[in-house]
Symmetry: C2
Subunit: 342 residues, 2 copies
């Protein structure tokens, strides 16, 4: 009998197929051409991107030249524009505003063929430090309500370039998915005076069947109501609402943990395409402007990273309902991920 | 400057790229192999599907033989099972129930290579009549909260068989997307005592810039905050909450309208993959059980069909935020669809 499972944070039901469960080898992985001729993110091609916003680089080198370790540039084809004001307005029944925001590319390494899973831990930590720097910088812009850091790996996960990179989009609205998560967390807190994520982490550690990796500081697990096979959530064990408050020592620990999880996914599933998205708290500065709404953000939000391997296609049922059919029970997925040799 | 647009029904913001707008010829259409060797939905292969639930067929023929026009069979690999009870239960923080439901396949025509857009209007009407019959039948089962009829066309839209068919899934819960739409419609009605869809249809007909096709009974338009390029919504002009109440005359009129819209999409976009989903009101029988919740369903819900051509890939940004980047302004899409020769 298939099982219906409910995600208390996303308020979403998922169908988990418990019969004929699909194993890692049952998924067809789409392969990319990884040729690096003319890659704009490689050493020596710095002039082909827009000028860099920030880079960790050898202090003896000039901006927009070789010698960097992590480099941030504006997206050449931005979804949103940095200049201007929102100019909110009604259009009859509808609402509109200008598409202002930031859209940046974080080039994670000069190595075209090394994914995050293959880099040394220190280099992964530099990428995470760059996420933090860009988040803290953009939080100063009062026009932005939310800043999303995300990563598309592989063309079927939406990556248009194969050179390892993340992206960041700052938006003048709170996205719906985040709004739903915030609402759930807030409802839970007002009922129980506890963080819903802390409660979930405690249950996952106790049951252990869905845990992929756990150390003193971080835990990764396949969510009870995973909408995709081999979906993983990573979160700090100690309550923390804002990724931007993490110090360098914790960043290094997270780098070690994240790298391990990405290697488990890579080796279990033959290097699949995936997306990950960092769900950190909305920008601080909004607090004084909407006190009732944001007052409890420090206690009811808990930052986390969602990792979604792209193994199945979404079709009419998913688009029509917002609920998903997952052919691999998360307990099975977690066992495969735990047991794989990395 | 890109524009942010808000969908008042789905409570979702969309980024509409107004610069470098993509035209129909800018999208790469994935082609399927349409070979029909051993197609289980073709004449003569009726024995390879589970036994039929219902068919419109020549009265001189036997069930599960040739001679049918539209044929409904259980899905051979159902996402949900028809037998059993929900057995709702808590699992710590989480909720679960058995995956009970119906999962049926509506084989629309014996012709392997004729899509809905190519069939005579009378044959399209038979498909719609079959939707209605199956909806009315399954609404009698008190275990089901929602019945979704949907259609996946083309393998990149999730169709595993190329023979024209629709599917139906009855679920023991109200899906999140439907719940959000219901809530918006209800909020609007309680504020204004008017149907939100009726208000939107009136605005679309008045502005006309997003209308794709309109006749006395039906209107199709590209939604103001379309999340996908060339997305189209079809709805009856006169308020009606339940697709199942449509009589045969209206079904024939809808068939003519739907066929025209599908032909416009087919000819504008070189026969693209697409999904469509019928959003009709939740099943009637729930009314007495949850009176407060369903009391106003007849006045605040308005059935509609969402048609989503699959031209772009969703990536980390969309999964992480639930908001979408649409590279073709709906006004442009509607003009292309209106002006194409069919």
């Amino acid at each position: 009998m298939p099982e219906l499972r409910h995600d208390p944070i996303q308020k979403r039901w998922v169908i988990v197929a418990t019969e004929r469960a699909r194993r890692p080898s049952d998924f067809k992985i789409e392969r990319d051409n990884k040729g690096n001729g003319n890659c704009p993110f490689c050493f020596g091609h710095e002039g082909t991107t827009p000028p860099e916003i920030r880079a960790f680089r050898d202090p003896s080198t000039e901006p927009n030249t070789e010698g960097w370790k992590v480099r941030v540039v504006p997206n050449k084809f931005p979804a949103l524009r940095i200049e201007g004001d929102a100019e909110r307005a009604a259009r009859g029944q509808y609402d509109r505003m200008n598409g202002i925001g930031a859209h940046e590319v974080i080039i994670e390494t000069p190595h075209h063929d090394k994914d995050l899973a293959d880099l040394p831990v220190e280099d992964v930590a530099l990428v995470l430090q760059m996420y933090r720097e860009r988040l803290l910088d953009l939080q100063n812009d009062p026009r932005f309500r939310y800043i999303l850091v995300f990563r598309n790996r592989g063309s079927s996960a939406g990556a248009s370039l194969s050179h390892p990179h993340s992206q960041l989009i700052a938006t003048p609205i709170t996205p719906r998915t985040v709004a739903i998560e915030l609402e759930s967390a807030r409802d839970h807190f007002s009922l129980k005076e506890r963080c819903i994520f802390c409660d979930i982490i405690a249950q996952e550690l106790e049951q252990h069947s869905r845990v992929v990796a756990a150390d003193e500081d971080f835990v990764s697990w396949c969510p009870y109501a995973s909408r995709f096979p081999f979906e993983v959530t990573l979160a700090p064990r100690v309550h923390s609402h804002d990724f931007g408050t993490m110090d360098n020592e914790m960043t290094m620990k997270m780098a070690r943990h994240l790298r391990e999880v990405l290697r488990r996914i890579k080796h279990s599933l033959d290097d699949p395409p995936y997306n990950y998205m960092l769900h950190t708290a909305p920008a601080y500065h909004l607090k004084p402007r909407r006190p009732g709404y944001w007052a409890t953000i420090e206690v009811d939000w808990h930052w986390h990273l969602e990792i979604l391997p792209r193994l199945t296609k979404t079709a009419g049922f998913e688009w029509g309902t917002g609920f998903y059919i997952n052919p691999t029970p998360p307990e099975d997925a977690a066992r495969f991920l735990r047991e794989v040799q990395i």
